[in-house]
């Protein structure tokens, strides 16, 4: 690694150009780079369908008055609910929700109208099957708004005072099976991170082992190229690839899920850059350990799996055992998912992002060190 001081910009540029030429000629790889993010997002997009309508609902009508009927009508009008059953009591309703025949049970208590008229602000109880929070999330928020509008036409004349300040009744939502009710927006940051991890690590690892396999590395090493020139020249095209992928993901996500970008795009770009660099350095390290492309792929995959499982993307981080959480903390993806989630959805700024960013920087530094140390200028 000596003589890194005479790093040559000309040689670095030569390697960079060569990599770009080869990358653009490798049609399949290039198609994969753009194709994988779109394909995954569309698959997740349909799987998620974040806004399903006409969900099967059971209504327990204890109160046969006007108000009860108005609420049921309002529910059906908002298109999220389709009332399919009128169970006699809570026991029967319980069975229906357990069997998955309905996703919601709306319970209008017997004394509802009476208490409403007395201004006692009664509650209707909504039980939701939240095993699939994605399916029920939007319907529940619509339900929560119902108390503002459902009785607008009934509470007129002398009753108008009941509608004056507070909503006249309460909607008490009871999420069953998954009280956290995680939402679908989690998917996009996680997907962005996993796609970058998978494609970039694999591609860099393969890009270098390929030179050994094709016998071109001997020629490259016989030139005065320095390890740092080779490494940077080979890595930077993939930074470009990474950003193209992020662009594709954000665009597709905006179109498919209307995922907002609340925070700063510049901060997002910086975080993405550091995360990409960390994955590329890792890929480069793999390539110095592997003796052929196949091994490089396997190593990448071996890293990719725990990344996906322990990062909090697929399973809630807090729900994991302690050792898994510790392991997860070491993975760049864990921090990246939090950063992206924070910036996109919560509008987090530098202060919130930094605590998640430095672990990635540390990882990047360590990997670069290993890669440069392991990358040989000889064939020994």
């Amino acid at each position: 690694m000596k003589a890194n001081w005479d790093f040559s910009r000309a040689r670095f540029k030569a390697i960079l150009m060569k990599e770009f030429i080869q990358m653009l000629r490798d049609k399949l790889t290039f198609a994969m780079m753009v194709g994988i993010p779109i394909m995954q997002l569309i698959m997740f997009g349909y799987a998620i369908n974040s806004d399903p309508h006409a969900l099967p609902t059971a209504v327990i009508v204890g109160d046969t008055g006007t108000f009860g009927r108005s609420i049921v009508t309002a529910m059906e009008n908002c298109a999220y609910f389709r009332v399919v059953a009128w169970p006699d009591g809570p026991d029967q309703a319980e069975e229906m929700i357990a069997r998955g025949e309905v996703l919601f049970v709306v319970d209008i208590p017997p004394d509802f109208s009476r208490r409403l008229l007395r201004g006692e602000n009664p509650a209707i109880l909504v039980e939701a099957d939240a095993t699939d929070p994605v399916a029920t999330g939007n319907a529940l928020s619509a339900m929560a708004q119902l108390n503002l509008t459902a009785l607008q036409h009934d509470l007129i004349g002398p009753l108008q005072s009941l509608n004056a300040k507070e909503p006249p009744f309460e909607v008490r939502v009871h999420r069953r099976y998954n009280p956290e009710g995680k939402t679908d927006y989690n998917i996009v940051p996680g997907l962005m991170g996993t796609i970058l991890t998978m494609t970039l690590t694999m591609m860099t690892a393969a890009a270098i082992t390929r030179e050994f396999e094709r016998g071109t590395m001997e020629n490259l090493l016989a030139t005065p190229a320095l390890p740092l020139e080779v490494m940077t020249g080979k890595i930077i095209p993939f930074v470009f690839v990474g950003f193209v992928q992020v662009g594709v993901i954000l665009f597709t996500a905006a179109v498919l899920f209307q995922v907002p970008v609340v925070g700063s795009l510049a901060l997002l770009a910086l975080s993405v850059l550091i995360f990409i660099a960390a994955n590329l350095a890792l890929g480069f390290t793999f390539s110095t350990l592997a003796s052929n492309q196949m091994q490089a792929m396997q190593m990448s995959f071996l890293f990719f799996l725990p990344s996906m499982l322990l990062s909090g993307f697929l399973f809630p981080f807090r729900g994991m055992p302690e050792w898994a959480q510790t392991l997860g903390q070491l993975l760049p993806l864990t921090h990246f998912v939090r950063i992206v989630r924070g910036i996109l959805l919560k509008g987090n700024g530098w202060a919130e992002v930094w605590p998640q960013l430095w672990p990635i920087l540390l990882f990047l530094g360590a990997m670069t060190g290993i890669a440069l140390r392991r990358f040989r200028q000889t064939l020994d």
Partner: protein, 308 residues
């Protein structure tokens, strides 16, 4: 010749892979401007030696210099002034001839790049194929491209590892004309080959087997040093004669060359004694001949094997 400045001067070079000793106590001196042939059977350590000379492999033992630079500590400078043509095609098959040459040119800071690349392509007949993908070139043209790529930066020393393997005779001759042209310009050339006719085009040769340098010198010196005597015989039913002669003690080798049989031995008298009965046979015509380089190599290898 001992006064001429040396382009390569190494001694005691050794290299093992695992427990296998591939090069052992290897020493050569190559004067500047010379075409030096490097011969030896498959797996004898030619490629390994060449790689050590240009800093691609670190020797386990030994020392020396290449163009005045230490092979252990100054690999970077050596690389700048050496052109190394690898045994296996080492350019990018998914790039065109021109792209490959421009890439290599940039790696050596060749200026002005594009005119220089155009110039060598014109000179070596690659201009017509400038925009063809290197991977679609035939074997011979790939070799030519590889040679051009390693002379682009006007190196003082060329290390050519079997540059003409799989090249047709006509192209091979053109190749050697290029090599002689370069040599005339003062470039030192170390070339490994398995072809005897190519060995004869070199100023000096070295023969290596099992990692040991066995023979070194001009062709005449090498043949002379071997102490071999050869008789050539022609006539009917040579294969039968060959079988008979091989059983004689004074005969080390009996090999067919076209319509002739070369009978070689290391002891003049013993050989002549062995062939006397057949020399009296009127059907055969005998004449004394020069042992060929091939005879010398095969004999050297055979005696070494016996001793092992």
């Amino acid at each position: 010749m001992n006064d001429a400045p040396l382009a390569i001067d190494v001694k005691g070079l050794a290299k093992s892979f695992g427990t296998k000793k591939v090069v052992d106590d290897f020493a050569i001196q190559v004067p500047k401007g010379m075409i030096f042939g490097f011969l030896g059977p498959n797996g004898s350590g030619k490629t390994t030696t060449i790689r050590m000379l240009c800093g691609l492999l670190t020797p386990d033992a030994g020392e020396g210099q290449c163009l005045g630079y230490d092979i252990r500590t100054q690999a970077q400078q050596i690389k700048r002034h050496v052109g190394y043509m690898t045994q296996r095609f080492g350019l990018y098959e998914d790039m065109t001839v021109r792209e490959n040459l421009e890439f290599i040119g940039r790696m050596y800071d060749v200026t002005p790049l594009k005119p220089r690349v155009q110039d060598v392509m014109d000179r070596f007949g690659l201009a017509e194929r400038a925009d063809q993908m290197a991977g679609t070139l035939s074997g011979g043209w790939k070799q030519r491209l590889a040679l051009v790529a390693c002379v682009l930066h006007e190196p003082q020393l060329l290390l050519l590892d079997e540059p003409t393997a799989g090249v047709d005779p006509n192209s091979r001759r053109e190749f050697w004309e290029m090599i002689h042209d370069l040599s005339a310009q003062g470039v030192t050339i170390l070339v490994s080959t398995h072809y005897m006719d190519e060995a004869e085009r070199c100023h000096r040769i070295a023969y290596i087997a099992w990692g040991h340098l066995l023979l070194e010198g001009t062709i005449d010196e090498v043949v002379g040093q071997s102490g071999l005597v050869t008789w050539s015989v022609s006539g009917p039913d040579l294969p039968a004669l060959q079988t008979k002669l091989r059983k004689e003690t004074g005969v080390q080798m009996a090999a067919a060359f076209g319509n002739e049989l070369h009978v070689t031995g290391s002891d003049k008298q013993a050989l002549e004694q062995a062939i006397t009965p057949h020399r009296n046979d009127q059907r055969y015509r005998w004449r004394p001949a020069e042992p060929s380089l091939e005879d010398v190599f095969i004999y050297t290898l055979a005696t070494l094997k016996d001793r092992k």
